[in-house]
């Protein structure tokens, strides 16, 4: 299994995602530069957290025009799994791969805090290793993570079992406590909490590994034989 971690100018959780999949999960992982027109031979794509293009205009609004996003649209349309974390989720809604929008937190402040999130469906490549209703303790770290959509869209997301994760402590004001949603094809997941920050016991927990290892297992076949060299 090979993960590709996209690097936009301003991505700052790219290395964290790469480290979690390569060193905590022992999978192959490589970075994909934002102006790359192709994704190479990766089996799954992670859009990491950060501030792509400075998040000027709107979070994720400029990133959607980068060359790599055309490749990701195509990859997703063909059923390839795409995981957008935090800023990656914002990019996915701006791109239209996921519905709705992410706006300023209800309290208007950036929030960095670990809290409980409930797995709402195990019917996806990202959550099949979890138990339905399983509580994951995952960190959030964002200023614009309040998920909004019109009632019809929210009803549809729920009706189609596409709400993947819900906050038990909703601090950003997201509608219906939504923390993560799936695409219609269930192969694109956008989530505000950071699974890659909960992938190492030293960092206070490993609940995030459920998401990453679900993905790894779904595409198991070739596991990395050795750890890649670590650059400081």
């Amino acid at each position: 299994m090979k993960f590709g971690v996209v690097v936009f100018p301003g991505s700052n959780c790219d290395h964290d995602a790469w480290y979690a999949v390569s060193h905590n999960l022992h999978q192959k992982a490589e970075f994909i530069w934002h102006d790359s027109p192709s994704l190479g031979d990766v089996d799954a794509v992670i859009l990491p957290g950060g501030f792509s293009y400075g998040d000027y205009l709107r979070c994720g609004a400029i990133a959607k025009f980068s060359p790599v996003m055309s490749a990701i649209r195509k990859f997703a349309a063909e059923g390839g799994p795409v995981l957008g974390i935090c800023n990656g989720f914002q990019v996915l809604v701006e791109t239209g791969l996921l519905p709705g929008a992410l706006v300023r937190n209800a309290g208007l402040k950036f929030i960095c805090r670990t809290g409980p999130v409930r797995v709402e469906t195990t019917d996806s490549v990202f959550t099949h290793q979890a138990v339905n209703g399983q509580i994951l303790h995952l960190p959030i770290a964002h200023g614009e993570g309040c998920y909004i959509a019109d009632e019809h869209t929210l009803d549809r997301l729920e009706g189609e079992d596409r709400v993947a994760l819900r906050y038990l402590e909703n601090r950003n004001g997201s509608m219906r406590d939504i923390a993560g949603i799936l695409s219609e094809g269930r192969n694109v997941l956008g989530m505000m909490p950071h699974p890659e920050r909960a992938a190492d016991p030293l960092m206070g927990g490993t609940d995030g590994l459920v998401i990453l290892s679900s993905l790894a297992e779904a595409y198991a076949g070739h596991t990395a034989s050795h750890l890649p060299a670590l650059k400081i």
Binding site: G10, C13, K109, F110, I111
Partner: protein, 743 residues
Amino acid sequence: MSTITSDVIAAHQLTQPEYDKILSLLGREPTFTELGIFSVMWSEHCSYKSSRIHLKKLPTQSTRVLQGPGENAGIIDIGDGIAIAFKIESHNHPSFIEPFQGAATGVGGILRDIFTMGARPIAVMDALRFGRLDDPRTGERNRRIVEGVVSGIAHYGNCFGVPTVGGECVFDDSYDGNPLVNVFALGVFRHDEIFYGKATGVGNPVIYVGAKTGRDGIHGASMASAEFTEASKQKRPNVQVGDPFMEKLLLEACLEAMKTGAIVGIQDMGAAGLTSSSCEMGSRAGTGVEIDMELVPQRETGMTPYEIMLSESQERMLLVAERGREDEVLRVFAKWGLDAVVIGEVKDDGMLRVKDRGKVVAEISNRALADEAPLYNRPFSKPLRNAPLDGPAVHSSDLLGDLKRLLESGDLCSKHWIWEQYDYQVRTNTIAGPGSEAAVVRIKGTPTSIAMALDGNGRYCSLDPREGTKLIVAECCRNLSVVGAEPIAATNNLNFGNPERPEIMAQLVESIEGMAEACRFFETPITGGNVSLYNETLGVPIHPTPVVGIVGIVPTAKPIGIEFENEGRDVILLGGYGSSDAEQFGSSQYAKVVVECVWGAPPKLDMDYEKRVQTAIRQLVRARSVESAHDVGEGGLAVALAECCFGEKGIGVEARMSSPLSNEFLLFHEGPSRVIISTAHPDAVFEAARKNSVEAVRIGATLKSRMSVGNRTETLLDCSVQELKDVWENSLEHLLHTSVSVE
């Protein structure tokens, strides 16, 4: 061109003797551009002219120090071929004028100091000082400053992608007209990746990279070298505007460009911008630097050489590349979408030569600017002291009520409202973050973690700058020892008033001497730092506020927290009850918050005993013989015990002591060298105490959800943990969002 009159000289904050020195160094009258260049380089901020003589007293060397003061940051060897670079710097004046941008660019500036050396920043901490939030006269303004400063730090650090892992925050009348924003940053690299700010190699190209130059921040360095007056409000345009996204690109591009091997020297454009970077790089290398103003990327039209040289526009770097290999460097910056332009070259004549449209507009020896700045041995008398020696007799009728007042006071309450706005986890290295005894950040790919803490105590230092400063060094080292780390090096930020007043200068001198003594004793050389003087508004100085940032190393492991983990554990006071008297008690938080007046002297410190307590706790934590450890600091034993109860599990304590101290002193005195431990292995604790010849007193045991404290047969405190925690946890938010009306 303006003629240089005495008014022009005064407007540049140069004295007549200083101007005379310029005349003799040049052998002629300076041009207007040259006058500007001298004025920023010889400002207090850049030249340390009032403090340099005394800073020499500080210890700066050890076997681990690879780079001491004088570079952009100090560098320390941490083993395995890895080094860390770290420094603290103030952005006090800009943060008062424009809190959000002032604080944001403070973060930006110190981050550049770290990555200009080749290190990737992995942690930031902040020491903040504000006026009181509940003051009916100034509270509203102070609350606005807090909001602005905290969101400015969050804005810059979060976007840049460096975790803000700790710090401290104090509210006091003394900072009412002069808040302090001191930012510490730390980076990591390999020994063979270190870069210096040296313009070596005659003929090598000088390259400008990063943001374009605008008119922002002109004379920022001289602004930071003067007192505040009503007219200072007009200095708002002097405050720079930060762009953390640009800085993130600059970081990645610089580190990538350094890997090409084509860069020979690099320095950020911080205070005094293009001026300081060019002449300091030349001065360090003993070379000349010639630059052409026409080639400097500009975002405003019609800028004069004076403005370009003095601009403090953010996110810019100056570098020198190997001749013939400049394209390798330029290509990396182009990849990151950044301006990178050759604006001049290294010369052999030791001069800073500034050209504009074919004309030389400034020509000064680099050495004159960087190394021959005036040096003052300013007169000093006895340190300024406003507090009385004696205070009222302390007798409490409600000890629990007093504890609650302390727990909800601005200085002692939970600061989660602040640090939850900071991304303290990005880069996934933070194994102990804000709210811990000391922050601990692992270095991936090595068995080592870095522990770091900031400490300052203006109240102690206002009563005795020498002893107060020794206490903060001791406390900072204690914080590190409590997480199992060995303190190895320090950085300092000296925040004081106007050094031209002998009683303020005396505070500075005594504080530096106290710091020198303590840093020598604790073997934590000062490898760099910052001096911020003229922290006065309308003639009222701040408390003398030295802040130290100390770093230590610890084998990477799951950290031991401050909070009790399990019921039924022995609670031991390592170091013993300590001692106090009516005079020392006057410096406590109890005096400040409950008695509402401060008097006397700081607590007495026995450095030798302190060091032994630190050795004992470090051994115990590393051996994992304890489940929790928390030092007794401000607020004394009662506040520290309460904090030990504020864990997620809500484990409380029943303490029954046997001390000859009065109830008030026992609960609230702030004597150093004490650590509260909970343990399932009390014998190991007593054994470590015996070996290190320090006291260890079993004071009680942990239990479920209640905090009960007694002395001999008397119960002094008895309360549910939740009730205390509610007071402590939500106080800052209340203080910030309750408006106080003037009666």
